[in-house]
Symmetry: C2
Subunit: 464 residues, 2 copies
């Protein structure tokens, strides 16, 4: 084998070949030739039993690390092939947070089968970590952090970090506890290394600790870690006692996952967003995630038909109005979606709070007025230049028709933009997810208000 290969890519076909020849030496050499993330990706292309066949050849610590990087569904499939002992050993080697995630996803009888085979302390840890609801800061934290007493010297503290290094996710920050495990300070390994050996942790530590509550939203906690450029964010309970930490890598993953969720909500796609690898998700699951909104919106969309039917006689008298209907609906949908998108994003990034509702509406009103100026002129020009006078019955003039269409379009743009901004702001105020006011729902709503605006403008201005 080529020893100089790129550690970031491994070919699963090559591994499959070694597995078929059942050559333990080649399998092992392959597994050791790349980074654990690359090997995890190669294994993801295999069936569960083949993947385990390869994983068996890897020493326990990297094995657990590779396993944690596998797709969630593949993880579950592999656990089904394992004996109770093998599974308990694998779980013991995993980081505390990944262990709990896996146990949560296993069928209940499976996790009950394996728990008694784990050490008492680990069982306790699993019980404690899994007591936090999905989506909270508590559910993504790990219990593998270092704590120090304030009376230690810098030298003693470094010795302690050194001893604990093999069992902790990070030793670059340590947390200083007072009575009842209350979090009173934080110190970095950098601070300790730079300090004189005899200085006390209690004198060196930072007392203003940025921290999250275990019940906080996981995205808020991840954004806090991002805002303060932290490597790890301590998590406390309601008595300010430390219960875990969130590490920077888990925070990036949460941010990515929440972004995917927002994208999908904007397009009215429901379902368990965190599990979805696009190609590995079966078509019927994609279908199930999308069908609800599409059918509901189609049913609501039939309302448009009913409205058009009501104004049938107006259309019969002035058929030129029908030709501009789709443009009016599309433009309303586009401007409304744009406003909704920027507002949803500004809310997600914390640039805008629910109380800023009037500032947002004022801003969007300005944008809408400029947009409707341009669009009104464009549509008036289109009617005047490209329509023939014979399309307009004698009782109307072409320029009155053009003006009507321009006014209706302007009203539509202003109302759609304001509605697009208002709905996510209201959702935020009601503590709902702003992205729920999804773009297709908004488009459908704006279609219907657009028709009402259009026909009523025509009624008032043309006396239809």
């Amino acid at each position: 084998m080529d020893s100089d290969r790129d550690p970031t890519t491994l070919a699963p076909e090559e591994l499959r070949g070694y597995l078929e020849q059942a050559d333990p030496k080649d399998i092992q050499a392959f597994c050791e030739s790349g980074h654990t993330a690359a090997l995890a990706e190669a294994l993801s292309a295999l069936e569960a039993d083949q993947a385990w066949e390869a994983l068996k050849r890897v020493p326990p610590t990297p094995r657990a690390e590779i396993f944690c990087r596998l797709d969630e569904s593949l993880q579950v499939d592999i656990t089904e092939k394992l004996s109770r002992g093998d599974l308990a050993r694998l779980l013991s080697d995993m980081p505390a947070d990944d262990r709990v995630d896996l146990l949560r996803r296993l069928p209940e009888e499976e996790s009950e089968r394996v728990l008694p085979a784990m050490a008492q302390a680990e069982r306790e840890d699993v019980r404690r970590l899994s007591s936090y609801a999905e989506g909270t800061a508590g559910s993504i934290m790990t219990s593998e952090y270092v704590t120090l007493r304030p009376e230690l010297t810098a030298e003693e503290a470094i010795a302690r970090l050194r001893r604990e290094a093999p069992n902790k996710e990070t030793i670059y920050h340590a947390y200083i506890l007072g009575e009842d495990r209350r979090l009173v300070g934080v110190i970095s390994l950098k601070d300790l290394i730079v300090a004189r050996a005899s200085e006390r942790v209690g004198d060196l530590m930072h007392r203003e600790v940025i921290r999250a509550r275990a019940t906080d939203d996981q995205e808020a906690a991840a954004r806090m870690l991002q805002r303060y450029d932290l490597l790890a964010l301590p998590v406390v309970d309601e008595r300010e006692a430390i219960v875990g930490i969130i590490t920077h890598d888990d925070a990036i993953d949460v941010i990515t996952q929440e972004n995917t969720e927002d994208f999908e909500k904007l397009m009215a796609i429901t379902g368990a967003h965190e599990t979805g690898h696009y190609l590995r998700t079966p078509a019927w699951v994609h279908f199930r995630n999308r069908v609800g909104w599409v059918v509901s919106l189609a049913v609501v969309g039939l309302l448009s038909g009913t409205i058009i039917q009501r104004y049938e006689s107006s259309l019969e008298r002035l058929l030129i109005l029908a030709l501009f209907m789709p443009m009016l609906a599309d433009t309303g949908g586009n401007t409304g979606s744009q406003a909704a998108t920027v507002v949803v994003r500004a809310l997600a990034l914390g640039q805008v709070k629910a109380r800023d509702i009037f500032r947002v509406l004022f801003k969007e009103a300005g944008v809408a007025l400029m947009l409707c100026g341009i669009l009104g002129l464009t549509s008036f020009g289109r009617v005047m230049l490209l329509s023939r006078a014979e399309q307009v019955p004698e009782e109307f003039t072409l320029w009155m028709v053009g003006l009507t269409i321009a006014v209706a379009l302007s009203l539509q743009v202003v109302s759609a933009t304001l509605l697009g901004a208002l709905l996510p702001m209201l959702a935020a105020r009601l503590k709902l997810d702003p992205a729920l006011v999804a773009s297709p729902a908004l488009t459908t709503a704006v279609d219907i208000t657009g028709l009402l605006i259009y026909f009523n403008t025509a009624r008032v201005m043309l006396g239809l």
Copy 2:
């Protein structure tokens, strides 16, 4: 002042009060009472001269840190108030990557005014870092990393890290260089601390270094750091010589910025996405970012009118067809946008590559067939149950009309879904940004294809 305040929030009104009373002690106490990120947020609510008035009271190192956290536009405004000496000093205290970012944004005469006042080494560093194009890995890296020679012992290496700590962004990883600054290994402070004092760096280091090229896309580099759970990603030039590192906090910021960009592109919003704080961006800039696509799409939308006009006589013979037109257009837009969204996201997350085009189309075809089954049945049911026979002229039967509408809707759903998946895949294959095939553009395209499908289905099935 309350010394027990929450370090994560500071009230700008309070600071403004102290500044108006021009009380240096209160100003300083306020500035020291919170985390630098919180103080930066409080300062962001002030005018440039007031913000500098407060920043002056803060010691140089935290001052530079706070300054880096300010909005880009406020940073530029403040620099305009500073003397050449003050600005040069501030720039010297800033991390190398933030320094280059600021100099890039200053007017040319401003940066030429300040460069001569900086130390030679810093000027060189600025020149080197600013030579990489925006959007590349090189443009977000910093030059403040630690390098070690392989022959050092662990003890000597730790002593070196300790000496360099004050001037480096991170000392938790050090890079080992061979000839010509070629990157040959990486070692973590954890590895060094756990090792015996006499072990050599060259024996302890990891030789498989995950690294980016300076010319790589910045998002690809950030995703690599995420994939491998790194604290920092080294960046090399074409000769494999190290030129900088990307730190985890900058990687999160890049991922956030690229997500915002994707959101806005999906909604056809153009412009310099990285600068936009929603409320601080003037309405006319929002307008300018949105107007292009909205007007273009409105003009294209007028095409729908032309198509309807062509089939005017069909509509006159069977007006019931008009009532289902909006629903058909909306449903096509919704299903197409959903497909585009999941495909764009899967491409962004690297779950799908450009070469997977047929696997994606196959998957979406499956989803589309299920969706059109449900939607076809719904629309057929709606026609049969809720329409009155008198809406249908004698030469047609209600059930043939229902069937026509169901078939047209099914064709529309299948073609819109496949188009929604195909366009981003084609964009990816042509090395364009998949999010460019934005949802409003797709919606408008699908409106037009939908009308053609609708009227042609009616022509074939009903002989209109």
